[in-house]
Symmetry: D3
């Protein structure tokens, strides 16, 4: 009997993860495909129903750039960070909170889940300050403090929180926060057992393009130094390092495709690259 | 992706049944096969992990007869009811509570569940009185009152209760209760949404031996009267009738085989005979 | 002693309203002035600290029109309702949820409150359907059902909810909902004791421009029929009628100026127009 | 706008003190004036409504002396302590618990609060023993142990406890306890953040009669030694020292006049003398 | 074995009364004897430990008269009610609350119980108004409303409440309430199962001086009319009538002697006169 | 007055033990007498009603041997341990869980208590492994871990748990556990204050046959070494030693006769042998 066999196999994973929190970061690319997003929504609902607590956080760089275009503004980057003047910050909020976050909430709720969208300002979730640097790049922030109460309240009541990486400054200003960094900090603060980064690459790749299936936290620095990890992969790995240091047990970088989350969570093959604090045996 | 597809299909059923109580009655025949029992244990654990509350109740006629043999006692039946003198009642308790119930508990707990065995005396679950009749057949009882508090306490704390159909008389005597009848009364009192009878037949059969897939409560009397339902099927159908009258939404008679419960609960094809209070449309 | 006298006067109102919920609707005009908005934020925080539960809901027509301009889209209205094609709906969400809602949350939290922003999609707060009409005006919706659980959860935990009037269709689509109507429906569903509409007019005016200080629900129809209430005042009065019918005790239409809410709540003079279900004596 | 400005100023203090416990000791002199007592009652109710937990404890030396007069007994003091024979102790209980305590309860409840009177015997609040000394002065006690459970229960349920400084000996005897000392011990045991002594003097005065606005705990010994603090001020300061050592953040000696509590709590000017454990900056 | 037999006999009564509330009224006479009062205290503690909730209410006419003497005031009665001017009312409060109530609390707590004294003002337990009548007899009140919250809170937390029959007028004035009447009203409002009046007579006596062991509520009027019940017995019977009408199951008038409460509660012989709503069979 | 005096004497013990857990082990001999068992049931119920939490655990060696006889199996012992093959283990379960445990539950519930039977498998109460030894004696186990959750849940809800000393192996097998050892381990894990072993001897006897009334844990080893303690007394003393080391305050070995438990708990004379960790003074 097919169905029963799959369910019984899944049961081992359900038992293992019951009651735990998973932080799932959706890269901007993930959200381009309606089909993938519908599958992601179903995956999150399934986790929720088997008593795993998913917390979603999303990026949105591509969409922000597209919206700036429409408003006739030209994006400018310094060291990979978007120069974010007041007007750009308004666009960032509109795109992340008004468009992408509400879109994810809709999709989850349409499929029968019960999601609640949050910007990082709500409940002072992400208290931020202006990112220090040689050049002033505007409202780009770094997290000073995560106040996880509002997220914990929602997951305790079985809602699926969907978080936009916007920080609230002491001055009341909004700050644009790197979504991977926000995901790592949130995962650590929530005591999540897994941090899953859904991206448009298969995972961390060797210089020859082959996938690295397992890493430990201590390898990360070397990978960055020797140029194996480049550009967008660098903040991901740094965020993961921070999450693992903060107590998260496992981090995963996975290519977004239909039901990639379920494949990762409920099968022994797993997917993408798994990074742990220390070497894991026999699994 | 196979696993994900099955899980997503199952999700519809998980959503529908989340938080509900299912009473599952295991016929004596079910418990003959180690393989089936291991599968039943897993099925119950899976239900429990997806927030469905399984309550198990079991029979044991075959085992009782076998134990009487060993003790050199000859079973005697009047109108299908076992004549139960004091010594026989001792054997009934020993077999049902000491052997079968502990066996089911072991099996569930071995597979990672958390079962608690209960005789119907514990917490005065089944208050019984001697079954009235023309001939005195001894300690054969009928239920006067179900006190479901102990069962509700256990399911609220996520234990899987396993119940033996022994009643407690006002006189402190134990009474042997028909397991199907006990299952029906318990399901009604717990406000269960499903009553599943796992048996050694495919379901209710027509006189030509074909399976009746759906019945409504009002058909039952006719089926008995016209002889379609015979011998062991009669108390099952009467118990189901009572359960449905008491508010249980659906009752199922299913042939015990590996993972028959999962097949019934998590697939659209279902299994065996489904009996409802009124006709169900479009499912 | 000045401070003490004012506090003791306020105490009467604090006693009267302790534990009650007030729904405060902020009109788009209110939010134009930084100074007024800072004062509104403080007023809401004060209510919250004296155990009155404020729930904020906001409009944003002016801002939406301005954003459409930037995107090069021309607003079009039929019977006072904005024609809302897909692209316009995207702008509506971006402006309401991404810009205005996050702005209000920032302001409250900067002043020491603890606000949480919600679109009407979150927790399926506003389940909506396409507004019926002779002409198709796109994603303009009406409320089918208010699910107040998420708002009740937040106020129970002393957060100040800030709600955007976006509805979630069964199809997963977002619908633009009139903010006054949403405020009235939310107030009724929450069992609020007061509904306060902060606007840019002094209240309901007679044809001669003088303020009507008190109205009862039954007067509303006549005021609309005889043309005393016009344009934007009509949906306000209809929403108030519905709120009062739904059990809200008092509704107020007040001109937004600094601390207008406190003046209304904590002084005997009150402000603007008060509408009640039945005539109120002696206050 | 006057009212709003005062309220907004008060908000800063409301935020700061929300959820904290204040022990307010009413000197016998305070209770001579109906007008002052009505104002005190209102002040306590206001604190209670803005989520500050007031606990009242009262003295009554003047009234005890007056009652002794009526009974034809002559008060006698040794080292400032009333010689308290059995008959005097009966008068003490009658005056403190029967007259003064019930009077304060009446006044608070008349103004719309919900006070509950307690002698220190109730719930074994003050376990006492006979005060040691060279001369036997009868039923004058010192506190051995404060059992704050009954007070904590009442403040948790939003009652305003009103406590008489009577202790219960292991022998079942009642002991007369100095009210300032009892206030200090109670404040420490409750984890109060403020101890306010309402008296008939402006505060601690210098030898030249000017008010000392701020003191730290370590100054107290010197003030007593050099004779600045005299007679009734000495036990007050000792009690305050003990309260501060026990974790109370601030103690205040204030002249009782109308709404002196509100003036102290809700304005920046404060009133009387404030004593803290360590020097406070910038407030 | 003696001890065990008594305990096993008592067990039947413990089972029957577990979780129920008993209101015990102590007449002024009871409190004259140290020995009886020590025994009463122990009885109440025993009830409390076997999960019966005792609530004590006391009288004090004799002591009030004695205290008035000391103050040089002459008691005056009209229709059996004490004329209570302002000064007398002060004495009433001092004696009841300050002396008798604290005395009972001491005694219970000395024996290892945990009593809390309450005047009827605390928590607005007895809201009273001036008793209407042809002649103004001052601060003699009747109960308008019993607010049992404070008593329920205390018994839920296993304290033994000791209540003085003082009422709080809307005007903030204290009113003297007949203790039997207060006991009856309190018993009804608390849903007590027993009301026990401890007095200095054996119970209700026939004209020939013999004890009436059982009465039903409907007999009461006749007993008063025909003069069997006289003077002090009349308000007792009226209060009992009201308590029984209010749902109290049994009322008892018992002569106070050592452990009379235990004798009544834990033996089949009972003591004094038992009054029930309807005739009780076979006990 | 006899009844009252006994109750007041008992009150001292009720106060001392209120809220504590007592583990009572019933030896097989105890259960031979209907009269004794009825008295034991009443004693347990009385403890339960005065807020002492009894947990029952039972043996059953005699009954097992008798049942083996009926099945035609010859018992065999090695070093005092029953050789327990598969078939014997089935008989052990049937007798202990099916016959003795249900019998105790019946008796308690018949007398008005609310007992719940548990084998050590339920809730994984006793996790066991095969007892190591030179010779393989089959399914004789030793406890690896006690999971007291299910017992704590039951006593918190005022049920009387009745436990059979059967352990659950990791392999799902049942293991026969010495009942005294199981009682000691359970008492330690529950934080019981008393462990009472009801046996057929008067207590620990000196070589001259006189009773040793008091022992401390450290004496036990010597008693065994010098042959004072023999055969069945040795495991009892070892189990007691372990319980005391695990924090149990007092252990008692008492001869089972009518109401022996009450005599031990509620009188100063006590009964049998009391063993404590350290010497107890003045009791």
């Amino acid at each position: 009997m097919k169905t029963a066999d799959v369910l019984i196999d899944a049961l081992e994973y359900i038992k293992r993860f019951a009651g735990q929190t998973f932080v799932v970061k959706l890269g901007g690319e993930v959200m381009m495909s309606e089909e993938v997003m519908d599958a992601v929504a179903q995956d999150l609902i399934l986790l929720n129903y088997v008593n795993i607590k998913p917390v979603v956080i999303h990026g949105g760089g591509v969409e922000i750039t597209r919206a700036m275009d429409k408003f006739g503004k030209k994006p400018q980057f310094i060291d990979g960070l978007r120069v974010t003047d007041k007007e750009t910050m308004d666009i960032v909020k509109m795109v992340l909170v008004g468009q992408i976050n509400t879109g994810i909430v809709s999709r989850i709720n349409k499929h029968g889940g019960n999601a609640v969208g949050l910007s990082g300002k709500s409940g002072k979730l992400f208290v931020a300050k202006k990112k220090a640097g040689k050049v002033d790049i505007g409202f780009v922030g770094e997290i000073e403090k995560v106040n996880p109460d509002i997220v914990n309240l929602l997951i305790e009541k079985n809602y699926i929180p969907v978080v936009s990486p916007i920080g609230l400054g002491a001055d009341g200003e909004a700050y644009n926060i790197n979504a991977d960094v926000a995901a790592g900090a949130l995962a650590a603060e929530l005591g999540a057992s897994k941090l899953i980064l859904l991206t448009d690459v298969k995972g961390v790749l060797r210089k020859d393009g082959t996938l690295i299936k397992r890493l430990v936290a201590d390898d990360i620095e070397e990978l960055i130094k020797d140029g194996t990890a480049k550009s967008g992969m660098i903040p991901k790995l740094k965020a993961i390092k921070q999450a693992l240091d903060g107590g998260v047990k496992r981090a995963h970088i996975i290519k977004a495709k239909k039901h990639a989350i379920l494949e990762e969570v409920f099968t022994s093959t797993g997917a993408g690259t798994m990074i742990t604090k220390e070497e894991v045996r026999g699994e």
